[in-house]
């Protein structure tokens, strides 16, 4: 019973003082004077606004990365009691007293400090000596760029932390694989690998590279496991399933979790609403939800609706019409139908209301009970304020013998269309431009070298997109141009063919019955006569699905007044109602994810932007902050000695690896098998980590900065002591050589320390240097160190 008392309870603690001391120094170096400078430093201006959004619970959308990183930063703000009230608009602006600078910067600094002991552990797990491990930690410690980046409210150090954590836990896992598979620590490290990978991806999309690297190494190991015939089939299957669960399923779930938390946290409508669909906006508190609450769900004959274009580019807008007509003749000599304009208008307006009418009946009110409109039904759309029908005109071809005077003069030139000025009208090619016989329209569609011809014999071309039909509201001029105002409803996201047209949820296409043209937003801005609203056209050559052809009902109510006057009053009155419609999490996640991946930032050049080639040689720098009065400044600059030697080490590693590999192929084994495997694994993780975090940037089109290189650099620094130790072991056979080599290494390290110390004022920004001292620090012409002129 009391057997467990027979042995005393003993706690043994192995404390590696190396690690403790290194961690302490790292914490000191990262946390020292963390709240200085009390001003917005460089990209803090960017991340800060998202922190404010979190604090105020306002929805936002950032295309640069998933929300986990932003959430972590916001956690600092939450713990520090930040209320979100700060205007992040200018680098260098002083923080007001309500901004808890220290706690906001704490998390990046902590993760940055933890890189040091983690580097130590990784080298140890890779099978290198304590000496090499200490070296790696020391190098991490004095890398100026890492220090600068982790002392500010930025995400790089968090990303590097998770990258290294993923590698470290995978190594721990694969080392325990040999001894005790399926033990508790085995499971722990395996799971942690998956979690760390997903966190890295969650902080920035670049984390995917490290994730893929870990996955590759894991699958190579798994492949060896499959080939291990000492294990039974069942056991191999268990191994594979455990890995799949931890490395594939857990990251996917975690990723969803980030978005779940994100969407729970930011539930209020805000400035980024407009990018999202109506359904999404309606799920946010305030904003659109206030208007659409309690709308009837099913659109019926007689419903009054506003139609929003789903594509929403260049700006989100609603189908609109107003009293003005298309000009009789455009600038380029073409003619129009001279009917009422139909446009897309980016603002809410009473002219955005349309009434859905049954072609067979005259009523513009909803019957009781309402008759819902279904997929495939033919409807007419009546503009609420002017009671005119949405229409796309077709000119009837004059019968032989009828004088063309029966058409208005403008219509004669409908299809005559002059080649746009100087686009491709070369004097040598006179036939390809100029006036054409009636009906032939030539335009360039495919690309600058290709011409395509349309025969547009009967249709009135749209004002700016001549290959599409004009859309208008029909005005009966009593000429040979009959109204053609029947539209067939095509619900794109229908589940069955009898689906009812639903407010907000249904995405519909309106297909013109006579011509099968599809109502489409062309994206072009009309000239002055169209009040610079967006052009709406009937697309005849509709090839497949495009969001610009899809519309959804945003505001909706059942029409009650048959009389025009009453109806106008009704239209002017605000929409009633109250009950919110909830969108499922997956639908919101998918939409948000899609928008994040497709939203484009068009800033492509920045004063401090650089190309990936500049990074390896440290040919660039970024001025982060300058003291308003003195010339104290924070500058992102790497420790030149470390950068140079890390680059060199990578090169040496690659050459040595190739050399060994070729020799092994010829049957010469320079290294014993286990040390070869260790050497290869170190290369796969460290040199591979550097490559996967660096090479993809050559293919990216976004603006790149020096700090994008830091994750790659962290891996490169890990490789450096590994290569040094290997060289030491291989080259130095005699004790004399050995001590010589150690001496060289120590000299080299003190050199790096010296550089660190010299650049320290620019890293911490705490000391104002004189112009001559600053000039002396400008080792490369391309470093933009700021020098005040007094």
């Amino acid at each position: 019973m009391l057997g467990f008392l027979k042995r005393p309870v003993v706690v043994k603690a192995d404390i590696n003082l190396n690690v403790v001391v290194l961690t302490a120094v790292a914490l000191l170096s990262r946390l020292w004077q963390l709240a200085y400078p009390r001003a917005v430093v460089f990209d803090e201006v960017y991340y800060g606004q998202y922190i404010s959004f979190y604090m105020k619970r306002i929805f936002f959308l950032d295309g640069s990365g998933p929300p986990f990183g932003h959430m972590l930063l916001a956690l600092g703000g939450y713990l520090g009691g930040f209320d979100g009230n700060f205007l992040w608009n200018r680098i260098g602006a002083e923080y007001s007293s309500n901004v808890p600078v220290w706690s906001l910067r704490l998390l990046p600094a902590l993760t940055g400090a933890l890189l040091v002991p983690m580097a130590y552990q990784i080298l140890l797990e890779l099978g290198f000596s304590h000496c090499a491990a200490t070296g790696a930690a020391l190098l991490m410690l004095i890398e100026n760029a890492l220090i600068t980046q982790s002392r500010l409210m930025l995400l790089e150090s968090v990303l590097i932390f998770f990258n290294l954590l993923a590698v470290l836990s995978y190594l721990k896992f694969s080392n325990s694989q040999k001894q005790r598979p399926f033990s508790l620590s085995w499971w722990f490290w395996l799971t942690l690998t998956g979690v760390a990978c997903s966190c890295a991806v969650g902080v920035k999309y670049v984390g995917v590279c490290t994730y893929l690297l870990v996955l590759t190494v894991a699958s190579v190991h798994a492949w060896h496991l499959i080939g291990d015939r000492t294990l039974s089939h069942v056991r191999v299957l268990c191994h594979l399933l455990a890995r799949a669960a931890a490395l594939l399923v857990i990251p996917a779930l975690m990723y969803l979790l980030f978005f779940y938390v994100h969407l729970i946290l930011v539930y209020r409508s805000g400035p980024h609403d407009q990018i999202m669909s109506s359904a999404f906006q309606a799920s946010l508190e305030g904003g659109l939800a206030r208007i659409t609450q309690g709308q009837p769900l099913e659109v019926a004959y007689g419903s009054q609706v506003t139609l929003k274009n789903v594509f929403g580019k260049p700006v989100p807008c609603w189908l609109h019409s107003h009293q003005s007509t298309y000009p009789m003749i455009y600038e380029n000599g073409r003619g129009s139908s001279h009917q009422q304009q139909v446009t897309c208008y980016p603002f809410k307006d009473v002219n955005n209301w349309w009434i859905v009418k049954d072609p067979g009946r005259h009523q513009l009110v909803v019957s009781n009970p309402p008759r819902p409109v279904r997929h495939g039904d033919v409807v007419q759309l009546v503009h609420g304020m002017t009671t005119r029908f949405l229409n796309t005109p077709r000119v009837r071809r004059p019968a032989p013998g009828t004088a063309s005077t029966s058409l208005r003069p403008a219509l004669l030139s409908v299809a005559e269309w002059r080649c746009p000025h100087s686009v491709d009208c070369r004097p040598s090619d006179p036939t390809s431009c100029g006036l054409f016989p009636r009906g032939v329209v030539i335009g360039r569609v495919r690309n600058s070298l290709h011409w395509t011809v349309w025969f547009s014999r009967h249709d009135v071309a749209a004002p700016l997109s001549p290959h599409s039909q004009e859309v208008s509201c029909y005005v009966d001029y009593n000429i040979s141009m009959p109204s053609q105002n029947l539209w067939r409803l095509d619900i794109v996201n229908r589940e069955s063919d009898t689906e009812v047209w639903k407010t907000i949820l249904s995405e519909v296409r309106l297909v013109h019955v006579n011509t099968s043209a599809v109502l489409k937003l062309s994206g072009a801005h009309l000239p002055d006569w169209g009040f610079r609203q967006l052009e709406v056209v009937g697309e005849k050559l509709s090839r497949g699905y495009h969001e610009s052809m899809v519309w959804n009902v945003e505001e909706h109510r059942y029409g009650k007044s048959q009389e025009q006057k009453e109806r106008e009053l009704e239209l002017h009155s605000p929409a009633q109602m109250d009950v919110s419609r909830n969108l499922s999490f997956m639908a919101r996640f998918l939409e948000l994810q899609w928008r994040m991946l497709t939203v484009r930032s068009d800033d492509s050049e920045h004063k401090y932007s650089s190309s990936p080639l500049d990074w390896v040689t440290l040919d660039t720098s970024i001025a982060y902050w300058l003291h308003p009065r003195t010339s104290a400044q924070i500058h992102l600059l790497g420790n030149a000695v470390i950068w140079a030697s890390a680059g060199l080490a990578t090169l040496v590693y690659a050459l040595l690896f190739l050399w060994y590999l070729l020799r092994r192929r010829r049957g010469i084994h320079d290294l014993p098998e286990d040390s070869w495997l260790r050497w290869a694994l170190a290369g796969a993780l460290c040199a591979g980590g550097w490559a996967v975090n660096y090479v993809p940037f050559f293919m990216m089109e976004k603006t790149l900065f020096l700090y994008h290189y830091l994750p790659a650099l962290a891996f490169q620094i890990l490789l450096l002591p590994a290569v040094l130790e290997h060289l030491g072991d291989r080259l130095c056979r005699s004790p004399l050589l050995r001590s010589l080599f150690s001496g060289l290494v120590v000299a080299w390290y003190s050199c790096a320390c010296h550089v660190f110390n010299t650049l320290r004022p620019l890293t911490y920004g705490d000391k104002s240097l004189s112009p001559s001292e600053l000039k002396a620090l400008r080792w490369k012409d391309s470093w933009d160190i700021l020098i005040r002129k007094h």
């Binding site: 690309n447 070298l449 395509t452 011809v453 090839r543 497949g544 004063k607």
Partner: protein, 820 residues
């Protein structure tokens, strides 16, 4: 055939081995043994379909290693995969060494079973007959109704036109390398086409012009794809039914058929790709006799075809990657073969460098040399190239140029960006649209020669006409403050603190002022790069920079294409960052000043490497410039394998003669299914092997073919398909066709193997044979029947569109996205 004889040894040793691991039906095994005469199947033709086919002697040899490796129990515990690693084609000598003692017994074992000579000859004849049949069928389908429709279809308007340019020797510009168009031009020339047809737009009738030569040439190359695929599959799988199936898939594919019938680059490109693949495979199977005549022949033929593929379109790069990968793994195996000395490996390496790098590069360069030699007259492509380049072309105003040498006030000039393919500084009577900077006149760069490229150089402070004869000539000097007035619109080149339309960090450049009167924002300082202040500025040779006086920014072109409002010309900005890039350096090209004496300039003679480099830069830029526009529907790579949407080659309306490029859906969907099945089957087999499962010899042979041969084809498919996902340029359906060739070959191998496996798993041999034959026949007939259904797509349809129930094609519109 030469290389086949030595492989015989391998095959024989394989069969001579005493131990058989779980021989499935000893009868069948024996029969196989009898039949092993590589390269000469002994079976009567009818039996081919019955599945009793001679397997590859190479794979038989491989099997020999495997089996041997497995026999002694000691080897069993060794790491898996070591024995299974293919010794690519090196089996012959390897096995001979490996089985040393057995070799002696070999000839005796062979002699009694050698069949009669006459029978062998009969077999060879049968085989040739089959190849001839396949080829004939391919030619028949491709040449049937080749002259229809007698008008320009789709891109014939470009490539036919470019063929004419070669005949007329006028210079033009295209984004593709010249070989394909040169061949088209040659074919036209030889067939009597005189280059006078204008090829203006699709639908134009050819009338009396002779177009059949060019179409016939393309159809000829397109027809050859089928026998090439047939031979490739035969070489990879050693199975006639697989090869037949592949040939049937390609012959009866309406897409390949349509694409081969017109004056296009694709048949030429696919011809070279397939020829390269075939010669690579052939040379792989000659690997056991290195440095023999056929080895050299196939190796250098591979190199020649690579040059051809790259010379037609840059997509040819993918087949180069495939051959490169093949070569590297080949060398890697040679290098690991310790029986070869390092010197021998070095010889191998040199041979490959010579045939696969040096030879193709030389040929590729040679096509350019011919291209530049043939096109020596000025033509529509001039403006894309630098001033120096244009001086080569007769008829160009820079050819034997005679222009005033030094820039003077009052000169009318064109200013060209020094960066290749950026174009001339240009302006026109259109304003920047609302919301994009100030609403002033647009300034762009434009690649074509145009009157709107002309600018007048004026003093900044006076508006007097410098051409007034009473004023003396005053030269422009480095460091002068000048004003550039646009000749056509009389507006000044202007910049101000507004953001540029696309590059937001730069300043906008506009045309401003009325009749030359503007403000101080029109003043620019003209500087010559690397020259002293006060020097005169030379036409053509001086590299100048224009610095805006007020803001201090530099005039440059960002190279970005403006949207529709800017007519898709390139953006011009003023950059505040004074980085030294070619984008902000210009030179003066045309120069008109009646007051100055003309001087002949013969200085501009670029060397051939310079021309070569420049034309590549221009092509790459042109390719990148082919971007899809906003709101435009473009074909997406994922559309292609599922045959989602075709391309209209000719005709839209129900009265037109319509040709629609669409793959035969039966073939394409079978291909798609096959890739999925292949991945499944391949991974099952790979895992089974890695687990060390003992596969029966029969299955093991099949799985070797599947993994080796199929693997190469799968790689080819991936290389020709996946890179398109990364491409930013506009894409079309026909880009998928090279990949489709590979996937059809894979289908052939997969179904052959799959049916054999099915037949094998049903033990009874007669039943198995039946199943195999029925399966294969139904595939062949199904393909042929689907071709019967869909052939109007390729040979042309008239009458109501398929949406119309009256149309004969009405029931065949299986996807809504097909609009034929």
């Amino acid at each position: 055939m030469l290389c086949a004889t030595s492989r015989l040894l391998a095959a024989r040793t394989a069969t001579a081995l005493p131990a058989q691991p779980r021989g499935r039906g000893p009868g069948a095994r024996c029969r196989r043994r009898e039949l092993h005469f590589p390269g000469h199947p002994e079976l009567p033709l009818g039996d081919f379909l019955a599945g009793r086919l001679p397997r590859s002697s190479v794979s038989a040899g491989r099997r020999a290693i495997l089996r041997r490796g497995r026999m002694p129990p000691a080897v069993r515990g060794g790491p898996a995969g070591v024995e299974l690693r293919p010794r690519r084609g090196r089996c012959g000598p390897q096995v001979t060494r490996a089985v040393g003692p057995d070799v002696a017994a070999e000839p005796t074992a062979r002699s009694p079973k050698r069949p009669a000579r006459g029978s062998r000859r009969f077999e060879a004849a049968g085989r040739w007959a089959l190849l001839a049949l396949v080829t004939l069928l391919a030619f028949a389908t491709r040449f049937h109704r080749l002259d229809e429709p007698p008008h320009i279809c789709w891109d014939e308007t470009h490539f036919g036109k470019m063929g004419s340019y070669y005949i007329n020797r006028t210079f033009f510009f295209d984004v593709h390398p010249p070989l394909g168009k040169m061949l088209i031009g040659l074919a036209g020339y030889l067939s009597g086409y005189d280059g006078t047809f204008l090829f203006q737009k699709p639908g134009d009738k050819y009338e009396h012009h002779n177009y059949m030569g060019m179409r016939g040439f393309c159809a000829f190359l397109g027809s050859l794809l089928v026998p090439f695929a047939y031979l490739t599959v035969l070489e990879l799988s050693k199975s006639l039914p697989a090869a037949l199936l592949t040939a049937a898939l390609l012959t009866f594919d309406t897409g390949c058929l349509t694409l081969s019938q017109y004056i296009l680059l694709d048949p030429i490109l696919m011809f070279f790709i397939m020829a390269a693949m075939l010669s690579m495979v052939k040379y792989n199977s000659c690997a056991d006799r290195p440095f023999s005549a056929p080895w050299w022949f196939w190796l250098s033929l591979t190199g020649i075809n690579l040059a051809g593929a790259l010379g037609v379109k840059f997509v040819g790069l993918f087949i180069i990657l495939q051959v490169g990968w093949n070569t590297i793994s080949d060398l890697w195996h040679l290098f690991g073969d310790l029986s070869l000395s390092v010197v021998t490996v070095g010889k191998h390496l040199t041979a490959r460098i010579l045939c696969l790098i040096v030879l193709p590069l030389t040929l590729y360069t040679a096509t350019y040399a011919v291209h530049f030699m043939v096109l020596n007259k000025s033509g529509p492509g001039d403006g894309f190239f630098s001033s120096a380049f244009q001086a080569r072309l007769s008829g160009n105003n820079l050819h034997n140029a005679s222009i005033p040498e030094h820039l003077a006030y009052g000169s009318v000039i064109t200013v060209k960006n020094v960066r290749m393919a950026m174009g001339y500084l240009h302006s026109h009577r259109h304003l920047y649209p609302e919301g994009i900077g100030a609403r002033q006149q647009q300034v762009t760069t434009y690649l074509h020669k145009d009157y709107n490229n002309l600018w007048i150089i004026k003093k900044h402070n006076t508006n007097a006409d410098p051409l007034d004869p009473s004023f003396p000539v005053e030269f422009v000097r480095h460091g002068d403050i000048i004003r550039l007035e646009h000749k056509e619109t009389s507006r000044n080149l202007h910049s101000h603190y507004h953001e540029a339309p696309l590059t937001r960090k730069h300043y906008q450049v506009t045309g401003y002022g009325i009749n030359g009167t503007g403000d101080s924002n029109d003043f620019w300082r003209i500087e010559v790069v690397n020259r002293k202040f006060g020097n005169r500025i030379k036409v053509l040779r001086s590299r100048i920079r224009l610095i805006h006086l007020v803001t201090g920014c530099v005039l440059g072109s960002s190279g970005k294409v403006l949207p529709k409002w800017g007519w898709e010309q390139l953006e011009v900005t003023c950059t505040p960052y004074l980085k030294e890039t070619l984008n902000s350096i210009w030179n003066v090209e045309d120069h008109i000043n009646p007051k100055l004496p003309n001087i002949s300039l013969d200085v501009l003679q670029p060397t051939f490497p310079e021309i070569l480099l420049e034309s590549h830069m221009v092509m790459i830029r042109g390719n990148n410039g082919l971007k899809p526009k906003d709101n435009e529907f473009t074909s997406k790579p994922w559309h292609w394998p599922i045959n989602y949407q075709g391309l209209r080659f000719s005709g839209i309306n129900d009265t037109d003669f319509r040709v629609y490029l669409l793959g035969n859906p039966v073939v394409w969907w079978l291909n798609l299914l096959s890739i999925a099945l292949y991945l499944l089957l391949g991974s099952i087999i790979a895992v089974a092997m890695q687990r060390g499962a003992c596969l029966p010899a029969e299955v093991e042979g099949l799985s070797q073919v599947l993994l080796q041969g199929g693997g190469q084809l799968l790689l080819g498919w991936m290389l020709h398909y996946f890179p398109f996902f990364l491409m930013g340029r506009i894409l079309y359906f026909h880009h998928y066709f090279p990949a489709m060739l590979f996937s059809s070959m894979l289908t052939g191998i997969l179904w052959d193997t799959l049916l054999r496996l099915c037949a094998w798993s049903l033990a009874s041999s007669s039943l198995a044979r039946g199943i195999y034959a029925v399966g294969l026949l139904s595939l062949l007939l199904g393909t042929a029947y689907s071709f019967y259904l869909f052939h109007p797509l390729a040979y042309g349809m008239v009458g109501p569109l398929a949406q119309d129930p009256r149309s004969p094609m009405a029931g065949l519109r299986w996807l809504e996205s097909w609009d034929f």
